[in-house]
């Protein structure tokens, strides 16, 4: 069934179709519509789930951890400061190997208060052990929610689905909402191996000494490695069932490109338009969309960018004191490659400043006209 819905609602439908069993959430702009509609679904029975109206995001993630450990399929959504507030619990969820799915609407961190889109909030959590997917469209958001539960439950790591504030969250797009029965076929009910069970009692998450801690972390590391293949496998399966396959990255007109733009989130859609325009003018440019950010898809990125002369990474985020985070990670992936491209790291669109086709034209122009990046990070459109 096709509906024109905002990104937030696309997430909600995805959660409903995935038959989440426990949802805990705390409102924060621009996430509120996700939980509002889920709240309605729970109240009128369209979704058979318990909705816990906790009093803060720290409690949100704690409740979701509890529910997941109790053996239920659990979901939540947040943004920005809410995500930051639950930081210690994110570690607990990941180290706890819980297949929790969370939607994070990318929003800038204050102060000053800023509700518009920026990626720093989710990227700042990249060390917690959560998987991260960056969505380009509302359709992708819905589809990724469904895939996320399957991936999470396969590798036993929590998954964060990220979408841009307002640009996706509040923008209406046509979205195909699959049939429940088809989704049920793709995503069976959650049957956890490890759970709180009075019939088979264990203590979870107690003191682990240096003798054992490292091995447990090693196992997480192995799961993260396996998660790349799991994402690809499940993305391909999704394609078979729903007609829309997904991979860890998407290569757009990249085969013979001299310059490849690396983008994520809704900027990708804008970039596609610009790539087409440059190609129409005879320039060999291409686009690499980063969909899976954690675990970092080293192989896919290296393979996509092999032989490219120049790479322009677009970061709508900043790690103060270093630079754009996608740029840093892509650069590290390319280190040691026999033919390393020159990487131009661009910072743009912080605090929700609009990224237009003109912006991307400027980026490509700069990349084309320079042999090397002039600075460690190239800040675009700053009023100087």
């Amino acid at each position: 069934m096709e509906k024109v819905i905002m990104g937030n609602h696309a997430v909600s439908y995805g959660v409903q179709l995935a038959r989440a069993q426990v949802i805990a959430a705390y409102p924060i702009t621009p996430q509120t519509q996700i939980v509002e509609i889920l709240s309605e679904f729970c109240a009128d029975g369209r979704l058979d789930a318990k909705f816990i109206k906790v009093e803060s995001e720290h409690s949100v993630m704690a409740a979701v951890v509890g529910a997941s450990m109790a053996g239920a399929r659990a979901f939540t959504a947040t943004s920005s400061h809410g995500l930051a507030l639950m930081h210690e619990v994110l570690h607990w969820a990941a180290g706890g190997r819980l297949p929790i799915v969370m939607a994070n609407v990318n929003r800038a961190m204050g102060p000053g208060w800023n509700v518009w889109t920026e990626q720093t909030d989710s990227l700042a959590q990249r060390d917690t052990g959560w998987m991260q997917f960056y969505c380009e469209t509302n359709q992708e958001a819905l589809d990724t929610v469904i895939q996320a539960f399957k991936i999470a439950e396969a590798v036993l790591l929590p998954v964060m689905i990220v979408l841009d504030a307002f640009v996706l969250s509040h923008t209406m797009e046509p979205v195909d909402i699959p049939d429940q029965a088809v989704v049920d076929g793709f995503l069976p009910l959650y049957e956890p191996e490890f759970k709180l069970d009075p019939g088979d009692p264990h203590a979870f998450y107690g003191l682990v000494t240096p003798d054992h801690y490292m091995e447990l972390r090693y196992k997480m590391h192995q799961a993260m490695r396996d998660a790349v293949q799991a994402t690809q496998r499940i993305g391909a399966q999704f394609g078979d069932v729903f007609g829309r396959p997904y991979d860890v990255v998407e290569k757009y007109r990249i085969e013979d490109a001299d310059i490849v733009l690396v983008t994520s989130g809704s900027i990708t859609s804008t970039a596609r338009v610009v790539v087409d325009a440059w190609r129409a003018n005879g320039h060999k440019v291409g686009l690499l969309k980063m969909r899976l950010f954690r675990p970092f898809p080293f192989e896919a990125v290296r393979e996509a960018l092999a032989g490219t002369r120049k790479v322009a990474v677009i970061d709508r985020n900043i790690s103060q004191g270093h630079g754009g985070i996608f740029a840093a990670e892509v650069k590290s992936a390319l280190y040691g490659a026999s033919q390393q491209p020159v990487l131009f790291p661009f910072i743009i669109g912080l605090g929700g400043r609009d990224v237009t086709p003109e912006s991307i034209h400027s980026i490509l122009n700069h990349t084309q006209s320079h042999d090397m990046p002039a600075e460690e990070s190239i800040w675009m459109e700053v009023k100087k």
Binding site: G95, G96, R97, L156, F194, H202, A203, F204, Y205, G206, V208, H212, E215, L216, Y218, K219
Partner: protein
């Protein structure tokens, strides 16, 4: 079984931090430097009982409704519970720690309750191996003699008891009136002992009808002749008619002989004999009975219950007075001249010495005077063998009669002595304990073993001892958090007006409900009674109940076990034990 879990590689480990076993792998016992030990201590009642009864154990059995086992526990040590439960001065109750929280446990009434149970009276035998084939002679069938005979015959020895009087029982029969000790109770208990196979020969007075030379077939002799002679008043007129010494008076009463009592009777003395004589005289028809005692009530040696009952019956007690002359007319008593006394410094008995108040003479008219100043032993039969000290046969801790330094020892037997004739204690319970001590010594003697290691005569021996710490538990050792003040149950008694009409039993004893209720009040001082408090409070769950068994199943057997693999030695168990049955000891003492 080892609970330890070892991972060789990460592949052995679970995917996430979860438990795969319990903390039993962790032997926290290594932490401690003191450890709790269950060690029963001595209950004050046991410590005080001259007959050596295991009172705390049989009270516990009563709480479990195991009355027959309770009675058997008494019978191991004392074949006369029916007697003692009526006439004993119950020093156990005087030491009872419960006295300070609602009143001492009525052990006396409890013993009587158990003795009176309507059950077959089979007295327990003792399993003994290789009992030498020997005969023992017991002189005197009072409580000391019969106690000794009982312990010997149940061990397998042949015993003959020689009794001077025509009836058996000594002072039990001829000294204690039947309103205190009914004849059927006494007869049944004596019969129980005799039916184990003792030969009793009455009418045989030692020193007259037989002597040591007649006892050559006996390898041991136990002298238990008691104190049969009344002390004299030592005042003019004391041999007039109408002056009857207390012991003689009571003997006549108890043997059913005809006696006339004057309408006005004065009993001189403050002990049980005086009370018995006064109350018997009343029952025989005297209209006015007074007891004259030279000290005050506080110093009276009589059992306080007896004094109280006498007063209830209308007997007047006059203190701080003593006769100085028996006034006679035609050789018959007509009155007493007395003087008033006051109390001075204590004498060798610890009691304050009475002093005559000069010029305080006064006269009373009486028809009968019964002096009851105490008794002494008639030891003329000893001749020059044996030593007499302070009017009694001298013995050592084993009850062996000390040989006279002058006389050559002509007797081939081991000669032992006990009871009132040898010790100074003067009560039925002491006599029973004394007879038992002698039996234990005689058994060793007959086996050719050395008679060493007997505790002093003030200690109370046991045939079936429990392994306990000799420390006596006192009130401050009891954890009062676990007890509420509850009054003791007093046995029912017939009203005074009714009971003085005859010699029927005054006290009516306990019902089963009374006994259970009273036994529940017992602190069980120093003796674990499985209250579960230690088990309940152990923070390390390392006190375990050993299976089954009410306390009576095996008295002294441990009901709990500390798992020393885990016990941290915190001491909560010892602190909370309501009855000081747990001690904390240094761990180093126990580590090998």
């Amino acid at each position: 079984m080892s609970y330890e879990i070892v991972f060789k590689t990460e592949a052995d480990m679970p995917l996430l931090p979860m438990s795969l076993g319990s903390t039993l792998y962790n032997k926290t016992g290594s932490w401690r430097y003191v450890r709790p030990i269950y060690r029963d201590k001595t209950s004050p009642c046991n410590h005080a009982c001259p007959a050596g009864e295991d009172i705390v154990t049989y009270l516990a059995m009563v709480t479990e409704g195991q009355y027959e086992q309770a009675r058997q526990t008494i019978l191991q040590e004392n074949p006369f519970p029916g007697v003692c439960g009526r006439v004993c001065a119950h020093p156990c109750e005087s030491e009872c720690n419960r006295a300070q929280l609602g009143g001492a446990i009525a052990i006396h009434s409890m013993e009587r309750f158990l003795a009176d149970l309507p059950a077959p009276r089979a007295l327990p035998r003792l399993e003994q191996r290789d009992v030498p084939d020997a005969r023992v002679a017991v002189i005197g069938s009072g409580p000391a003699g019969l106690s000794c005979a009982y312990q010997l015959v149940r061990s397998g020895y042949e015993v003959t008891v020689f009794e001077a009087l025509p009836a058996v029982g000594g002072m039990l029969r001829v000294g204690i009136p039947s309103y205190r000790l009914p004849r059927d109770v006494l007869n049944a208990e004596i019969e129980g002992i005799v039916s184990l196979g003792i030969e009793i020969r009455t009418g045989m007075r030692f020193g007259e009808d037989l002597g040591f030379e007649d006892l050559t077939d006996y390898r041991a002799v136990f002298l238990a002749v008691g104190q049969q002679r009344s002390l004299r008043l030592n005042v003019p007129g004391e041999d007039a008619s109408g002056v009857t010494p207390g012991v003689q008076f009571l003997r006549q009463v108890n043997l059913g002989q005809e006696i006339t009592v004057g309408p006005t009777v004065a009993v001189i003395g403050g002990g049980n004999t005086a009370m018995d004589a006064a109350r018997s005289a009343l029952r025989l028809g005297a209209s006015d009975v007074a007891v004259l005692y030279r000290r005050s009530r506080h110093e009276m040696p009589a059992i306080p219950d007896e004094v109280e009952e006498a007063e209830q019956e209308g007997i007047r007690l006059e203190f701080l007075t003593a006769p100085v002359e028996v006034l006679t007319e035609n050789g018959r008593v007509r009155g007493l001249r007395c003087v008033r006394m006051r109390l001075g410094a204590p004498d060798e008995s610890g009691r304050r010495r009475p002093e005559v108040i000069p010029g305080s003479d006064y006269t009373v008219d009486v028809d009968m005077v019964i002096p009851a100043l105490g008794q002494e032993a008639d030891l003329s039969f000893l001749g020059d063998r044996g030593q007499v000290e302070r009017g009694r046969i001298a013995i050592n801790e084993a009850g062996v009669m000390s040989r006279s330094p002058s006389g050559a020892d002509r007797s081939p037997q081991g000669v032992f002595a006990g009871g009132d004739a040898a010790t100074g204690f003067g009560t039925v319970a002491h006599a029973i304990g004394s007879g038992k001590r002698a039996a234990l010594a005689i058994d060793r003697y007959l086996r050719g073993q050395a008679l060493e290691g007997f505790p002093p005569l003030t200690a109370h021996l046991r045939v079936a001892p429990r392994d306990v710490d000799p420390t006596v538990v006192r009130f401050e050792d009891i954890n009062l958090a676990y007890f509420a003040e509850e009054p003791r149950t007093v046995q029912r008694q017939r009203p005074a007006a009714e009971r003085i009409k005859g010699f029927g039993e005054v006290n009516l004893g306990y019902s089963e409900g009374d006994a259970l209720k009273e036994a529940e009040r017992c602190f069980s001082c120093g003796v674990c009674n499985q209250c579960d408090t230690c088990w309940l409070f152990c923070p390390d769950v390392c006190i375990h109940r050993l299976d089954s068994g009410a306390p009576s199943a095996a008295p002294g057997r441990q009901a709990y076990e500390v798992d020393y693999d885990y016990c941290k030695g915190c001491g909560v168990c010892a602190e909370e034990c309501p009855r000081a049955a747990i001690v904390m000891e240094e761990e180093l003492k126990w580590r090998k």
